[in-house]
């Protein structure tokens, strides 16, 4: 198995594009979850993907992370890495981090241990026996703790955190992975207004040094993030552009308000 290759796969983003999805089709029992979806994400870009339920947002994330294999189409990470051929583990190691809709932190591990798990430089079983985090790793963990405002909770089990804090911890774990491309699935579902504001701030600060793709229902939140918006409907791209332009598109209005 190639998943144990010592060196992580290198991403070639020399053309300024980090993610290529071209003509992706995925069907489940005849139902087309994705229908010739084409989407590009640039280096450092903050991209919001919106769309009604069943538009194919989650399936798109699954294709990018290797969880679902497309029936047709091409998916590339940078110029060279074919996402349809790599395993989930290899894709994660190559630098694509994913945050799930439901916060999935390790509840019995402390906040710090969650970050340690995410930040370990060598994730092979043999190395995990001896590799305690070094001073540099500790510094990074402290930085991330501060960024996600969990300094005071470092030694508490993650299961005791509030819903919002779990969401932030999960973003913190992604930051420890230091991915080139971050996929966030509904990062503010179930958060209070104040927590949502804080999350928007955090996500905006993440783009630039890395590419971020946010899947969201909430138009208001998408507006606060800024960036390019892609509207999905029935497994394909319906419209793309700045939020104002997209919102003015009659087909988008039809999809959102017509139901």
């Amino acid at each position: 198995m190639t998943a144990t290759l010592a060196a992580p796969l290198q991403v070639d983003t020399s053309h300024g594009v980090v993610l290529y999805l071209e003509e992706i089709t995925v069907s489940f029992d005849g139902f087309k979850a994705l229908d010739r979806l084409t989407l590009y994400v640039n280096v450092g870009e903050l991209r919001c993907v919106i769309g009604p339920n069943g538009a194919g947002k989650t399936t798109m994330m699954d294709v990018i992370t290797g969880r679902t294999r497309p029936d047709q189409g091409r998916a590339f990470f940078g110029q060279t890495l074919d996402l349809t051929r790599l395993s989930e583990v290899e894709i994660a190691r190559a630098g694509i981090g994913r945050k799930f809709q439901k916060p999935t932190v390790f509840e019995n591990h402390t906040v710090l241990e969650n970050l340690e798990l995410a930040g370990a430089r060598d994730r092979r079983a043999r190395r995990a026996l001896t590799a305690e985090p070094g001073p540099e790793d500790r510094r990074r963990m402290e930085e991330v703790l501060e960024l996600v405002r969990l300094e005071g909770e470092a030694h508490r089990p993650a299961g005791l955190l509030s819903h919002g804090q779990k969401q932030w911890l999960e973003i913190g774990m992604l930051l420890m992975q230091d991915p080139k491309l971050l996929l966030l699935d509904e990062p503010v579902a179930g958060l209070t207004d104040e927590e949502t504001e804080r999350s928007a701030e955090l996500i905006r600060s993440l783009a630039g040094s890395r590419s971020v793709v946010v899947v969201e229902h909430d138009m208001d939140f998408v507006g606060r993030l800024g960036g390019t918006v892609t509207v999905l409907d029935e497994g394909a791209v319906l419209a793309e552009g700045p939020l104002e332009k997209v919102q003015a598109d009659p087909r988008v209005i039809e999809v959102y308000l017509g139901r």
Partner: protein, 389 residues
């Protein structure tokens, strides 16, 4: 490995077991290596302080069981892999060493032949290929590690790679040990059929039922238990253990973080099987028999009950559970043998319902309460958080 890395590894190894733990281990070792041998060998039988043959044999046997329980707790409590087939690895280790013990009988068997009695009875003229080299203790000891290890590695590779988990995995392990039992029941398999191996005469040249040999086997079993506890403690306290607990709590999430759970599960699963094999090899010379009933599904379920009673995910609790349940079993099977299985079933139900964290969980729950009571008069401003912490 450079010297400083080796030193830090040693330091981590020593640190994994807390100081109180080392004291406890030291005391247990002292008991096994000095107190019990002295009381057994040199205190006259008439003295109330004399430790009888029977006690030494039962204690040695329970130490082997406790080792198996700790090994199961490593995979069940920390990696979330519930094996209901660990009796198989135990029995395989026992059979591997049993082959050596059978050959060590020499011509002292019933038929005074070169081959073991059961082979003479079956009219075999030579040892089957599986017995090759087992007249050498060293090769038999290697088999004790290799056979359970390879079986676990191959089985684990296919099961974990196919992402078989939870109750499905448990059922397959039951089927595995059951199938092995049926295989070993056949005379043609070459391991004594339903009678298995017995009537051992000597081990490494010493008479097997001499008091000195008994005490040595008992001490070796306790040493094995203590070593297993220290090794497993180190493993679960290391970064490896942190990943292991994450495998238990969220395997697919862990995959997203770029870990390959397969390797972690396979390593710990194989290690656990090897530990069981060694325990089995120590067990067989002490009880004097190994037969396929050791592989019966019920036996393996009993191992899981020991762990559940003591407290899953605590290591020490698993050993404690094995000791408690087996002491109860010794008593029951003498006093009211027909009630034993009812008691065992009731115990499992009761522990599941009322003590989900076992005996150790109960002790832990009681301890903070005691500490809080002790702290209250002293700490004037003691906030809730301080008490909880």
């Amino acid at each position: 490995m450079d010297p400083s890395a080796r030193r830090s590894l040693l330091a981590a190894f020593l640190r994994a077991t807390p100081r109180a733990g080392w004291w406890g281990l030291g005391m247990a070792a002292g008991l096994a290596f000095a107190v019990v041998p002295a009381l057994h060998l040199w205190v006259p039988v008439s003295s109330p302080l004399h430790v009888s043959d029977y006690t030494v044999a039962v204690a040695g046997k329970i130490a082997c069981y406790a080792t198996v329980a700790v090994a199961l707790d490593l995979v069940w409590g920390y990696a979330g892999i519930l094996s209901l087939g660990h009796g198989l690895f135990f029995a395989l280790g026992g059979y591997a060493f049993g082959m050596y013990l059978m050959r060590a009988i020499g011509r002292d068997g019933v038929y005074h032949a070169d081959l073991p009695d059961f082979m003479v009875f079956l009219d075999w003229k030579a040892y089957p290929w599986t017995w090759a080299g087992t007249q050498h203790a060293a090769w038999a000891l290697a088999l004790v590690v290799l056979v359970p290890g390879v079986v676990a590695l191959v089985f684990g590779w296919f099961a974990f790679r196919s992402r078989i988990r939870g109750v499905y995995f448990s059922i397959i392990t039951q089927a595995l040990t059951y199938a092995a039992m049926l295989l070993f029941f056949r005379n043609a398999t070459g391991f004594g059929g339903n009678n298995g191996f017995t009537d051992f005469k000597r081990i490494f040249g010493f008479p097997i039922s001499a008091p000195g040999t008994r005490v040595a086997l008992f001490a070796a079993s306790v040493l094995m238990l203590l070593a297993t506890l220290v090794l497993c403690r180190w493993l679960v306290e290391s970064p490896f253990g942190r990943v292991l607990r994450a495998v238990r709590d969220g395997e697919s999430r862990l995959r997203c973080l770029g870990y390959d759970p397969l390797r972690f599960k396979l390593l710990v699963w194989t290690l656990s099987a090897v530990l069981c094999g060694i325990a089995g090899a120590l067990y067989v010379p002490q009880v004097g028999i190994i037969n396929p009933s050791e592989m019966s599904p019920a036996n393996s379920i009993e191992i899981a009950i020991w762990v559940a009673v003591g407290g899953r995910g605590t290591l020490l609790g698993a050993a404690l559970g094995a000791v408690l349940v087996n002491l109860a079993k010794s008593w029951f099977t003498q006093a009211v043998p027909e009630l034993w299985l009812f008691f065992l079933g009731a115990l499992f139900v009761a522990v599941t319902l009322f003590l989900p964290d076992g005996v150790v969980g109960l002790l832990r729950k009681l301890r903070p309460a005691r500490r809080a009571r002790a702290a209250r008069p002293a700490g004037a401003k003691g906030s809730i958080e301080e008490v909880v912490a």
